[in-house]
Structure formats: structure tokens, C-alpha cells
Symmetry: C2
Subunit: 257 residues, 2 copies
DNA sequence: ACAAAAGTGTTATCCTTACACCCATGT
DNA sequence: ACATGGGTGTAAGGATAACACTTTTGT
């Protein structure tokens, strides 16, 4: 199947989507050093944007978000939750997604017209393990890659606003989100967990107190020691006890402020 | 203008609304004894429902919610914020809003057809001073009244779910919502403020500690004593210092759990 | 005088914070 | 041996929670 046929297949489906409703995903990962966000670069115009998509007429919202996320990352059941809905009149005013004069724009006039309508977009926040994700661009995108939160480029439409709202959400809800279990690999050091918290809260926390607090919460299983090449004492490796973790999460984990 | 003309006027506007998008408002008030929710009783079928409405094609979401709320309560600038969006396929499955066989249903077939489509509804939470609200039913509703939270009737569609989600939100966000300043009258006693917290948290709190905590937070101005008819010491009246209150609200007021 | 509710005080306990100290490891 | 980071300990200060005590009012 060549590109034209693939595009055509997608085209034919436009009428199967709910008109005027879209989903934008803020997908967050942690590379053990800093937080990253998954972004797409659109072929037409080179605009950066959040991964997103549309909702089938016979599909629940959460299902659509889950499908869109799996298409971009290959990940099946991550943390994924609606966090805000964006529907202001001018939210897509700043840049046209297609330019009808370019070859691509002319080729996809039908989709262009469809996209001209006003859209209400549901923002979904997802927390994933970066190392098990396989970022894949969609047919109209050039690349799909992780970008450090510290250097998010200008995004199309109101996508910077959407991303910021999601980050605000993470900071506010830090004690109620499964940040550790979603963003870290199976086994990790206390230092890595601490860096994760510091990156989210944007401030340093005391190493000794952090360790004691986390251990007292009782959802960490200590494993055998890590054999690092560092010129220092090797740290323990920890893993989450999922039952205890999920139990505590409802009450709020960490009491961090 | 007779009823038919009024209905007709509303009808003519159906095409000015965004199709498939609605707004449902969970409007909460406090009568100094318990929390109440504003509900409508639909003429057709006698179903109870949340106040709601649609969004004009040239209108922002928040503006639509604000307009709908003012139509039902007369209140202009209350606390009002989107809290969740409901879009599941089956959310309107349980009851038909109109019955085409009844006189009303036959009369409003056009609207009936329009309402047949799938709807995505934005849930808005509003906190208002009950005493300054003037509940007014809309043209298709029999009544618009305050009901105690403890005795919410069965609501149409997924409206019970929406209301419960809003209440959950209030409980979780209690330290970040302007509950006191929005739900209480200008002047109030410490006891009344305490009852408000107890009603939201669904548990008793220690009177002495509550008083000290609230006073230490420093956003309450103490006024002259109230002259009650009670056979006991008359309590002070307090009022919120809006500047200090709003400042603290960002950091979280109360630390209640 | 007494009951009832308001306002304030006292104490034990827990949690937080800021450090200090010792331990293990590779150079 | 020593520099580096990991793990644990301690003591001061603040917040919380439980409860006692005093004050004011109408009957």
C-alpha cells in the first residue's frame, strides 16, 4: 500500500468521527534525569504539536484516548486520565494546520475543510515508562519524539496552554497520581525517585528526610544492591509493592508540598 | 407573548448552537445547616435533572456556563469551574427526554430530533450563596428548586454520576476551593463555618481546634457580637478578609483531611 | 443558680526540618 | 587513604488532637 492509499483510507473514515470533538494527549516520561513530553512534528509547515486524534461515533472518550496513545507509543495500559477540556472560540486561531496552496494542503483539501470547524478538545494526561515506549509518527507527521520539558518548542494552536495545564495538574495532584509507579522502571534507586519528585516540584528536597519518608510509607520493597561503576557506596534497588502503593494512593502519597 | 411563541423563539435558535455539545451545572448552596443542590423538574415525564444548556457557535465554554447559571439563579459572578467532561456512548441511554406520543413530545419534535444525537457534556461546578439566588425554571421545566444533598432524587441520564463526581471534587479540593467565601453570607459564626466543613467532609471536627486553626490562618475579621435568642453566650460574627483569603487559597486553606 | 454553647488553655504526640555521623566502594 | 555518594541518627520546632477550664447568656 503506498502513501496515497494509506491517506485515502484515513480520509474515508472522516465521517466516522464525531464532528467538532478532538483529543489531545500530554504524554509524560522520565529518563531518570528529567521529565520529557512526547511531541509530533507536522509535515505541513513543520509545526510542533501534541499527539492527538478524533473520536469515533461509536467509541467512548477514554477508549479513543487510549487508542490514540497506543498508536503513538505502543503502550497499552498506562496511566491515562482526562484533565481538562479546551473549547474556547479562538483556541485554534493562531496557525492554519493546512495551507491549501502547498502540495500537501491541496492533496488533503477534504480533511482541511473538515478541520475548519470549531473543535472542542479533551486534554488527557498520560504517564508512561519512556523505555518501553516506541514513538511512531502518524501519516501526516515527520517525527514523533521525546522533548525535555525544559525545552518545549512553540506548539500549534493552544497546545502550549494544554501542556502547561497538564503540568500544573501534575504538580497539584502529585500526591494522588501514580507518578513513581508509572514513570520509573521496575527497579530504581532512591536517588532516582528523589530526582523525579524534584523535577516535578521544581525544588530540592532533603535527601535523608526523603528517604525516611518514603520508606516509612511502606510501599517500597528493597532488593539486592546495585553494582554501579561509581566511586562510592552502591545504592539499594527498590521496587513498588503495587498493592500497598495503590492502597495508599487513594489517601495521598507523600504529603509533599 | 404566549408560551407557543416563546418556545418558537427558542426553537429557531437550535441551529445557532454547537451540535453534540452541552453543559451541565452542579450548583451547590448552603443554608447554614446542610448542603443543597439546584435541580430542575422536566415537564415531560417529570424527570429530575441538573440545570444545563447548550453552547452558541460564537460563544466560549465558560461564557455559556455562566449564562446558563445566571438564567437559573440570577447570580452573576459566582465560583464556576469546569470539573469533568462526560462523553460516554451510553450516558443518555436510560431515559428518553421527550416522548413523541405525548402532546409536548409531538409539539417539540424538532428539538426531540436534535437531541437524539450523541452529546458530549461539560460538567461545571458552581458554589453560590443560596440566599441571593432566585431559582427560575426554564420553559420546559415545571420547577427549579434546592434539594438537600442527602436526598437527591433519581436524575435523568447520567446526571447522578455527574453530581457525584462534582461532590467528590469538592471533597478532594476542599483546601483549594473558595467554599467559605462562596457559600456563606457576608457575616457568619464560627459554628456555621464549622458545620459547612463537617457537611463537606462528612465527619465531625473538634470545635476548639477548628476555631484556633481558622483564626490562626488570619483571613477572618471578627465583628461585633451577634444578639441571638439562644440561652447561651452569644457568638462572634466573622467575615472574610477577601485579600488574605484569596492569597492563602492558592497555597491551600485549612489543611483539612 | 443552672444549662447550654462560646471562647481559650494545656498537654502529649507526631511530623517536619536541618543537620551530623558513619559506611561502602573505586581510584 | 581518600573522595564520593549512600544509609541512618538526633534534636529542635511546629502542628495536631484530645480534653479541661472559664465565660456569657436566657430561663
Amino acid at each position: 500500500m503506498d502513501d496515497n492509499e494509506k491517506y485515502g483510507e484515513w480520509f474515508g473514515d472522516l465521517s466516522s468521527f464525531l464532528p467538532g470533538v478532538s483529543i489531545d494527549c500530554v504524554i509524560i516520561g522520565f529518563d531518570l534525569n528529567e521529565l520529557n513530553i512526547l511531541l509530533l512534528k507536522w509535515k505541513e509547515g513543520g509545526h510542533w504539536m501534541l499527539p492527538g486524534g478524533f473520536v469515533h461515533k461509536d467509541e467512548d472518550m477514554d477508549h479513543a484516548a487510549s487508542r490514540i496513545l497506543e498508536e503513538r507509543t505502543g503502550i497499552r495500559l498506562p496511566y491515562l486520565k482526562q484533565f481538562h477540556t479546551f473549547g474556547d472560540l479562538d483556541r485554534r486561531a493562531n496557525v492554519p494546520l493546512f495551507n491549501p496552496v502547498t502540495p500537501l494542503g491541496a492533496q488533503f483539501k477534504e480533511m482541511f475543510d473538515w478541520l475548519e470547524q470549531r473543535f472542542i478538545s479533551l486534554g488527557y494526561l498520560s504517564l508512561v515508562d519512556m523505555r518501553s515506549s516506541v514513538p511512531a509518527p502518524d501519516l501526516l507527521s515527520e517525527t514523533c519524539i521525546w522533548k525535555p520539558l525544559k525545552s518545549i518548542p512553540d506548539l500549534i494552536y493552544d497546545h502550549n496552554l494544554i501542556a502547561n495545564k497538564a503540568l500544573e495538574q501534575i504538580r497539584n495532584q502529585i500526591n494522588y497520581l501514580p507518578i513513581g509507579i508509572s514513570l520509573l522502571p521496575e527497579k530504581f534507586t532512591m536517588k532516582q525517585l528523589q530526582i523525579l519528585y524534584e523535577e516535578i516540584l521544581q525544588k530540592k528536597v532533603d535527601r535523608a528526610n526523603f528517604q525516611k519518608k518514603m520508606l516509612k510509607l511502606g510501599f517500597l520493597d528493597r532488593h539486592e544492591k546495585q553494582l554501579t561503576g561509581g566511586a562510592h557506596k552502591a545504592p539499594f534497588l527498590y521496587a513498588f509493592n503495587r498493592e500497598k502503593y495503590n492502597l495508599l494512593l487513594e489517601k495521598g502519597i507523600g504529603y509533599m508540598s
